[in-house]
C-alpha cells in the first residue's frame, strides 16, 4: 500500500484533508466512493466545516420590482472574512418562468415558480445555496395549488434531515356566512415524498395576501398587516393565532398606532423578532422578542437612528416631499431593515440597515455602526423614499452541507 493509500484509509486523516477542500471539490468527490459520499454528507463533517450552524454568512436580496423580469439577486456579505455571493440567479431548474426565493430556513431556500400569476399552478423546490443541491417538490393537484395563500418550509438539521412544507390554501373564493372563506392546510413531507391534508377545512376572513412564513421553535409563523397572525406547530399539526406585540401604546391613539405598525419580522439564532416603530418620525423602534412558550413579547433592544441619520444625512427626505409624506410617517427617512442578526455572543448581535447607497451594520447593544458595503442595487435612477429592498426580500445565507430530503 502506498503512503497516499494509507492516508486515504484513515478516516481521521481523510477528514482533515477534506476540510481543506473548497465546496466545489467536495461536491465532486462525493462520486469517489460510497464511503466518501457518506463522510462528506455526514452531520459531523458539516459541523467541522461550519461549527456555528446559526451563523448568517450573508443576505441574499431580491429586488422588489424587477424580480419577475430579471430574477437577479444581490448579496450582502456579513462575515468578517470575505464571503462571495452563492449565485446571481436561480437557474438550476429550467422552468419557463424562472424561480424566486420565498423563504430561507436553516441553510435551505424554499423557491417557487410563477407566484406572480395566481392562475398558473406553482412549482416548489428546496435548494441549498452552499452545495447547490436541490430537490423538487411534487405539485399539489393543479386545481388546489393555484389557491395557495400561505406557505412555509420547516427544516431543522439538528433534529432530522427531513423537511416539511406547509401550505394554507383556499378551497374556493365563496364567502361563507359573511365570515370569510374556507381554508385547508396541506403538508408535504420529504420522508413520504407526498402531500396530504392536515385537519379539516376552517373559515378565516378572506386574505388576498400571499406570504411565506418564518420557521421558529418547531412552528411556522405568518404575519399580516390587517389579519390574524398565524402559527402552525409542525409536529403537532396545530394551527393557532399568534399573539402580537403592542402596536398601540395608548388606546386613544389607534390611528397613530396603526401607522406605527411593524417594520420587520424574522428569526435568528432561535429567537423570533418583531420590530415596531415607536415614534411619529420612524426614527425610533423597539425590537421585541417572542417568549418560547408564546406567553408574550418582551423588548430586547431599543433602537434610535438619530446617530446614523446624523452620519448619513442622505437618509433625510428632502423637505419638499414632506407634504406628500404627511400620512406616511414611516417614510420620513430612507432606510430599510434587512435583518436582525443574533450572534453567539449577544454583545455582537446586530441589525443590517440599508440606507441610500450603503449597507450598515448597527450593533444592537453598544449602538455602534460600521459600513458593510457600498450598495446601489437595481436601478440607480429610482428617486423618492422607497428603497428597492424591504425585509420581505432579504434571505439569510447560512452555509451548511447538512443532508436534506
Amino acid at each position: 500500500m502506498s503512503s497516499s493509500e494509507a492516508v486515504a484509509s484513515n478516516d481521521g486523516l481523510l477528514t482533515e484533508i477534506l476540510v481543506h477542500l473548497p465546496i466545489k471539490s467536495l461536491m465532486k468527490f462525493k462520486c469517489i466512493s460510497k464511503h466518501w459520499q457518506s463522510l462528506i454528507s455526514s452531520p459531523g463533517f458539516s459541523r467541522r466545516l461550519y461549527p456555528d450552524s446559526h451563523l448568517v454568512s450573508g443576505l441574499i436580496l431580491r429586488p422588489t420590482y424587477d424580480c419577475v423580469i430579471k430574477k437577479e439577486y444581490d448579496f450582502v456579505p456579513l462575515k468578517y472574512t470575505s464571503t462571495t455571493a452563492p449565485f446571481r440567479s436561480l437557474t438550476f431548474v429550467n422552468h419557463p418562468s424562472g424561480l424566486i426565493i420565498l423563504q430561507s430556513c436553516n441553510g435551505l431556500l424554499l423557491c417557487a415558480s410563477s407566484i406572480s400569476d395566481w392562475n398558473i399552478p406553482c412549482e416548489y423546490c428546496i435548494y441549498n445555496p452552499t452545495s447547490h443541491e436541490f430537490v423538487t417538490v411534487p405539485p399539489l393537484g393543479d386545481e388546489n395549488s393555484r389557491f395557495i395563500r400561505r406557505i412555509g418550509l420547516a427544516y431543522d438539521p439538528a433534529k432530522s434531515s427531513h423537511f416539511k412544507i406547509v401550505c394554507i390554501r383556499s378551497d374556493s373564493l365563496e364567502v361563507i356566512q359573511n365570515a370569510g372563506i374556507s381554508y385547508q392546510i396541506e403538508v408535504y413531507s420529504s420522508q413520504t415524498g407526498s402531500w396530504r391534508l392536515s385537519g379539516v377545512p376552517f373559515v378565516l376572513p378572506y386574505n388576498s395576501q400571499y406570504g411565506a412564513g418564518v420557521f421558529w421553535n418547531g412552528a411556522i409563523h405568518w404575519i399580516s398587516h390587517c389579519h390574524a397572525c398565524l402559527c402552525f406547530k409542525v409536529d403537532e399539526e396545530q394551527l393557532q393565532e399568534m399573539p402580537m406585540p403592542p402596536l398601540t401604546r395608548d388606546p386613544a391613539d389607534r390611528i397613530e398606532g396603526f401607522m406605527r405598525s411593524f417594520v420587520y419580522f424574522g428569526e435568528s439564532r432561535e429567537h423570533l423578532h418583531f420590530v415596531v416603530n415607536v415614534d411619529n418620525h420612524s426614527k425610533k423602534f423597539d425590537v421585541y422578542e417572542m417568549q418560547r412558550d408564546y406567553s408574550g413579547y418582551f423588548v430586547k433592544y431599543r433602537v434610535d437612528l438619530d446617530v446614523i441619520i446624523a452620519a448619513f444625512p442622505e437618509m433625510d427626505v428632502p423637505s419638499d416631499e414632506d407634504d406628500f409624506l404627511f400620512f406616511y410617517a414611516f417614510d420620513c427617512y430612507k432606510y430599510s431593515i434587512l435583518g436582525i442578526i443574533r450572534e453567539a455572543n449577544d454583545e455582537e448581535s446586530y441589525m443590517v440597515l440599508h440606507i441610500p447607497g450603503k449597507v450598515i451594520r448597527y450593533k444592537l447593544n453598544d449602538k455602534t455602526f460600521t459600513k458593510i458595503c457600498d450598495f446601489h442595487p437595481g436601478h440607480e435612477d429610482v428617486e423618492g423614499s422607497q428603497l428597492e429592498f424591504t425585509r420581505l426580500h432579504a434571505y439569510h445565507y447560512m452555509e451548511t452541507l447538512a443532508r436534506f430530503g
Binding site: 497516499s4 494509507a6 484513515n10 486523516l13 484533508i17 465532486k28 462525493k30 462520486c31
Partner: protein, 175 residues
Amino acid sequence: MASSSSSSSCSSSSEKKITLKSSDGEALNVEKNVALEFEPAKGFLEDNSEEADDEAIVVPLPNVSAAVLSELIPYVKQRLELSAKPVQKKLIKAFDDQFTRHLSDDKLGELMLAANYLGVNYLLDVLCDVTADRIKNKSVEYVREFLGIQNDFTPEEEAELRAQCPWAFEGVDQD
C-alpha cells in the same frame, strides 16, 4: 526576550540530547525540546522521568522510518525557533511552503502519517492543506487512482450523483 533565550538554547551545544529509535532500527540524536514535540516521545519521557541521565534514554518510535524522521526533525527544530520569535505569520507560512513545495506525493503521504502518529498538529494541518490543494481540481478518476480507492457505485448511481451537481465538474484539470 523569549526569542533570544530560546534561540541561544537551541543552538547551544549543552542542550540535552535524546535518542529516538526509528521503525527500521536507526538511532537518531535530537535535542530534547524537539523530541518533546512528538507526543509518543513526550509520553515516554514523562513515564521515564526518574531516569537521571537523559542521554541514556532511547525512545522507540516503531511507526516512523529513519528517512522520514530525518526530514521531520530539522523541520520541527526550525519551526520551533521561528515560533519562539515574534515573527509574522507570513514568515511561518513561507517556511512551510518552502518545506512542502518539493515533496513528492508519496513523501507527502509518509510525512502525513508520521505527523499524525507523532501528534505534530501544525505540520499535519499544513500537509493536509497541501494535499487538498494538489487534488482539488483533479478528476474523480485521478483521485481514485491516486489514493487507491475502489469505485463502489454502479454506473447509474454515479451518473445520478454527477447530474445532481453538474457545476462541481466544471473546470477539472488534465490528469
